[in-house]
């Protein structure tokens, strides 16, 4: 009598049952779900800072882009420093070159900028400029004696104050 296919494969199926005995290392499933959830949370954190990661990946993948970005950033930094320096120094000559007339005579103020006595040599202050521009012309003409006392750390010298004739 001819056997049915299911009977034929019964031995094979029983043999395949041996594969059910294969298993991962002991304890593998104890932390499997934790690993999945950790990866999900890490992915969500990564997505939160995605733009930064994408930028870093772009820079790592393309050295040319990295070089260009470095040049651009350096240029931007230098421009910023130069611009800041200009902003710091430019008001002085403008205020110092101001001429004004008082009682028929003109006064030219060309003070020498006063530097801070500290080591901060980059910071230049023209006290006289500040003083002159804040005083009224009448007071300014009357001021011919010793410079006023100021706080320590500053030295004040009389400006080159030449009345016009």
């Amino acid at each position: 009598m001819k056997t049915t296919p299911s009977q034929d494969f019964q031995d094979l199926r029983q043999l395949l049952a041996a594969k059910r005995l294969e298993q991962p290392p002991p304890g593998y499933f104890d932390h499997f779900a934790d690993r999945v959830i950790s990866r999900l949370e890490a992915d969500e954190d990564c997505e939160a800072s995605g733009w930064w990661n994408r930028l870093m990946q772009l820079l790592e993948a393309h050295p040319l882009v990295t070089s260009v970005a470095g040049v651009v950033m350096s240029a931007a930094l230098l421009t910023t420093v130069q611009f800041a320096d200009t902003l710091e120094l430019s008001p002085e000559p403008r205020s110092l070159s101001t001429s004004f007339s008082l009682a028929g005579s003109s006064i030219k103020a060309q003070p020498e900028p006063t530097r801070l006595a500290t080591e901060e040599t980059w910071v230049t202050r023209s006290f006289a400029t500040v003083a002159l521009t804040s005083l009224t012309p009448s007071i300014r003409t009357a001021w011919s004696g010793e410079p006023p006392k100021v706080a320590s750390g500053w030295s004040v010298r009389p400006v080159n104050f030449t009345p016009g004739r």
Binding site: L15, K19, P26, F32, V36, E41
Partner: protein, 210 residues
């Protein structure tokens, strides 16, 4: 502990089970709202079945581990699109199967096995299997580990669709109908593939089978 699952623990109602566990639908709804704790329970519920399916397709523990994790991560990201038109385990297995098939296409097959971890307790309980090995094996010195190596070699000789139906039906214990939903084909195709795959396997394992 066996990797195989005789039947996936499919829960369909909203009420808690007798053991106090929440039903799939409740956990899925919470997971869709971003609840990681709820999804954690779903992972624990299906991790063995998903892992086993992938492992029997790849015959490699590391690959199966990576693919199983990626399956659950992919499923969480896509869980918002799950509308309950099929059982959750069917939907989840479909993701696992697709990921595995893509992986196998991209990577050449490897013969690396993880067969050193055997469940001796189950072997002792499964007296039929023990008798089969001792009676049918021409070389009696062949142990279970070697037999599993030969089984895996024979499985890897099958095409991926044929290996999948053997894995899901003869090892995992799923029905033809469930397999047809996972593989997105009709049950007739499943039956024919299973028949052909068994014939192939029987040829490869002729020394162990009558």
């Amino acid at each position: 502990m066996s990797l195989a699952i005789s039947k996936p623990p499919a829960h369909s109602s909203e009420t808690p089970t007798a053991s106090g566990e929440l039903e799939d639908s409740t956990l899925i709804q919470r997971a869709q709202e971003g609840d990681h704790a709820a999804y954690d329970q779903l992972v624990r519920r299906y991790q063995k079945g998903v892992y086993a399916t992938i492992y029997h397709m790849t015959s490699n523990h590391e690959d199966a581990s990576d693919l199983a994790q990626e399956t659950f991560i992919r499923a969480f990201r896509a869980i918002g699109s799950f509308r309950g038109q099929s059982l959750f385990f069917t939907w989840l297995y479909r993701i696992a199967v697709n990921k595995t098939l893509n992986f196998l296409k991209q990577r050449s097959r490897r013969g690396q096995m993880s067969l050193n971890d055997l469940d001796s307790d189950l072997l002792e309980r499964d007296s039929g299997l023990g008798a089969l090995i001792s009676d049918k094996t021409p070389r009696h010195e062949l142990n279970l580990g070697e037999l599993q190596v030969r089984l895996n070699e024979a499985m890897l000789k099958l095409s991926e669709p044929h290996r999948l139906v053997v894995t899901l039906h003869d090892i995992q214990g799923l029905s033809h109908d469930e397999i047809s939903k996972i593989m997105d084909c009709n049950t007739g195709t499943v039956r024919s593939r299973l028949y052909y795959a068994r014939q192939q396997l029987q040829g490869h394992l002729a020394e162990f089978v009558k």
